[in-house]
């Protein structure tokens, strides 16, 4: 089975590990990658993409040195290769202006504030994975257990 990839970006290791731990229940269907900076994330995406891996969701912090999360997500949005990749901003310190840019320029699909609730995050990631799978036209049969069922029914109808 072709596993989906979820990338987490945060300059704090403990946050990355916490997110990865929360997403563990999905592990048999997704690969969770961890990046400590926006640059690392873009390089990784470049590599993964040329290996034909499906990058379904990017979960990014906003305040990071060098390149912010909103900048990173904006660049991903503009990249034709990642047309279907879903974007989630996970931050505690974004200003009102940052949030506006995150929505208008990076077109993020979801916004989470730190600290987050694991169950809510995992449900949301499932919805984003479903959107990715259905929009990119992947085979969804193997992934059924982790997809948002109501969304799937609506699509198949």
């Amino acid at each position: 089975m072709n596993k989906l990839t979820v990338i987490c970006v945060d300059d704090q290791r403990d946050v990355l590990e916490a997110v990865a731990r929360d997403l563990q229940p999905l592990e048999s269907y997704i690969d969770i990658e961890q990046c400590e900076s926006a640059f690392e994330c873009e390089e990784l995406m470049d590599d993964l993409d040329s290996q034909g891996r499906a990058i379904a969701v990017v979960i990014s912090d906003h305040i990071m040195p060098e390149r912010t999360g909103v900048e990173l997500l904006t660049r991903i949005k503009k990249d034709g290769r990642f047309e279907y990749t879903r974007k989630l901003l996970l931050t505690g310190l974004a200003t009102h202006q940052d949030t506006i840019r995150a929505i208008n320029q990076a077109a993020i699909d979801n916004y989470f504030e730190k600290p987050w609730v694991a169950e809510v995050l995992i449900e949301q990631v499932k919805t984003l994975l479903t959107d990715f799978v259905l929009n990119s036209g992947m085979d969804y049969e193997d992934l059924m257990p982790i997809l948002d069922q109501s969304k799937l029914y609506r699509y198949l109808k």
């Binding site: 470049d46 040329s50 034709g80 290769r81 036209g137 992947m138």
Partner: protein, 473 residues
């Protein structure tokens, strides 16, 4: 024109023709079946020109009306006649089979190749590699873009190629200064190259495939031989178009840099796409050595890509069925006109012998070019080629000038050369929508390139006769 008036004209006039008494038509041995085909043809022509309904819907309507009125499975009032002038009914199987004619399968194979190439980004990655040697000087970059667009549009749809190339180009054009004429040239070069490139192979654009339908028996042209004269034609016309654009709309930028991100995919499936793509084209080119014709070869990628899940059932839904059906309708129209003897009868009742053969070739190709500027290239070919083909077959005086092959080729090329207006072709519409070129500018280059291309096609046929490719005895 008002929508209702359009509908009345498009369906009213043909109805009138269908129910007039036979004796009113100045055509010898005219039958009821032929009269109905004539009415359907008139409806198709009006509908394709005025577009009261989508053009592919017109095609579907042609086939359904044929089934109802001139097939042996049709409505009982149409299949029985006491007067003895009914004529011969066509078999319903043969009419329905136009949906799956070899021409359609050839195009389907082409669609599969193009879809797989896009999905595994072979197209964009090739574009990145091919663009490099052209450097950063604006005129060179433009040449590079035109070459790539032309090559791709030989195997992908002209529209898809244009969309891909414009997406690369648009961010760069946005930073050009407002009054730099170079922007116009850049925006125009893509659709021009796509339209010209389509001429290069039988699957480059639907009119070529439709032409193959009429190039049968002794007139048949293989995939490889089409490319043998099509590609040089494309190269010369492309070079001319490039020079023209450089002259008319020179750029004041010193250098431009196109950024295309990405790497060649290195998965098993990507390699399957690369190999299948190359192998299919090679098999198409070497038709003579392995005995498989291009229609049979076209089915290979269809099988390979579906069993390897490269084309999934979701992808299958994205195939341009409208294009396939548009061509099917044309095939059915042409077949009905041929098999009922209508085409021959019409041509026999017009004294074409009184015209010089050259004026007929000239007239048909100019008419085609004009029509193609205002309506769909495919619909133009659908309408004109059945008549032109019959004319080419039946007129002996045409033989020294290339006979059926010659006139079919010239008219087919003319169908691709209609590119002077935003409405002429989807690639033109896309380029116009970028806002970097006005209708005037598009018309200026389109008219010049169209006329030069038409002249060049006469030269081509002349040369093909000289080298003996087209027999003149």
């Amino acid at each position: 024109m008002n929508r209702h008036i359009k509908a009345v004209v498009c369906f009213g006039l043909p109805l009138l023709v269908a129910f007039l008494p036979l004796t009113l038509f100045p055509i010898e041995s005219f039958t009821l079946v032929q009269q109905r085909v004539l009415a359907i043809f008139l409806m198709a022509a009006l509908c394709w020109v005025l577009e009261p309904i989508p053009i592919f819907a017109t095609s579907v309507l042609i086939i359904v009306l044929q089934l109802l009125t001139i097939s042996n499975g049709g409505f009982f009032l149409f299949t029985q006649s006491d007067s003895g002038n009914l004529g011969e009914l066509l078999s319903y199987q043969s009419i329905m089979s136009s949906f799956a004619s070899p021409i359609i399968m050839l195009f389907l194979g082409g669609f599969f190749l193009a879809m797989a190439a896009t999905k595994y980004r072979l197209d964009i990655n090739l574009a990145r590699v091919m663009l490099k040697p052209f450097g950063e000087k604006p005129s060179r970059v433009m040449l590079g873009l035109m070459v790539i667009t032309a090559v791709f549009s030989m195997f992908m749809s002209n529209t898809a190629t244009t969309a891909m190339m414009l997406s690369i180009l648009a961010p760069v054009l946005a930073v050009f200064s407002k009054n730099d004429m170079g922007r116009v040239a850049m925006a125009l070069c893509i659709p021009i190259a796509a339209n010209i490139g389509g001429i290069g192979t039988p699957i480059g654009t639907p009119p070529n495939a439709i032409a193959l339908k009429y190039l049968v028996g002794d007139d048949a042209i293989s995939f490889g031989s089409w490319m043998a004269f099509g590609v040089p034609f494309v190269i010369i016309l492309l070079a001319f178009a490039w020079l023209l654009l450089c002259k008319l709309y020179p750029s004041s930028e010193q250098s431009i840099k196109l950024e295309i991100k990405g790497k060649f995919l290195k998965t098993t499936q990507a390699y399957i796409v690369y190999v299948t793509f190359a192998a299919t084209i090679l098999l198409w080119l070497m038709g003579k050595t392995h005995g498989m014709n291009s229609y049979v070869v076209a089915m290979i990628p269809v099988a390979v890509f579906t069993i390897t899940k490269i084309i999934t059932k979701d992808d299958l839904k994205k195939i341009s069925w409208d294009v396939l059906w548009l061509v099917s309708g044309g095939i059915a129209m042409g077949a009905a006109m041929g098999e009922t003897g209508l085409a021959e009868n019409i041509i026999a009742s017009i004294p074409f012998e009184n015209f010089s053969p050259l004026s007929i070739i000239f007239g048909a190709s100019v008419l085609c070019l004009l029509m193609a500027n205002f309506m769909s290239h495919t619909a133009t070919a659908n309408l004109l080629l059945p008549i032109v083909a019959t004319l080419g077959m039946s007129m002996d005086s045409l033989i020294p000038y290339g006979g059926a092959q010659g006139i079919i080729l010239v008219v087919t090329f003319a169908a691709s050369l209609g590119m002077s207006l935003p409405i002429s072709t989807p690639p033109n519409a896309l380029a116009h929508a970028t806002g970097f070129t006005s209708t005037n500018q598009m018309a200026r280059t389109g008219v010049i390139i169209g006329s030069v291309g038409l002249l060049l096609s006469y030269v081509l046929v002349f040369l093909l006769i000289q080298v003996g490719f087209i027999a003149t005895i």
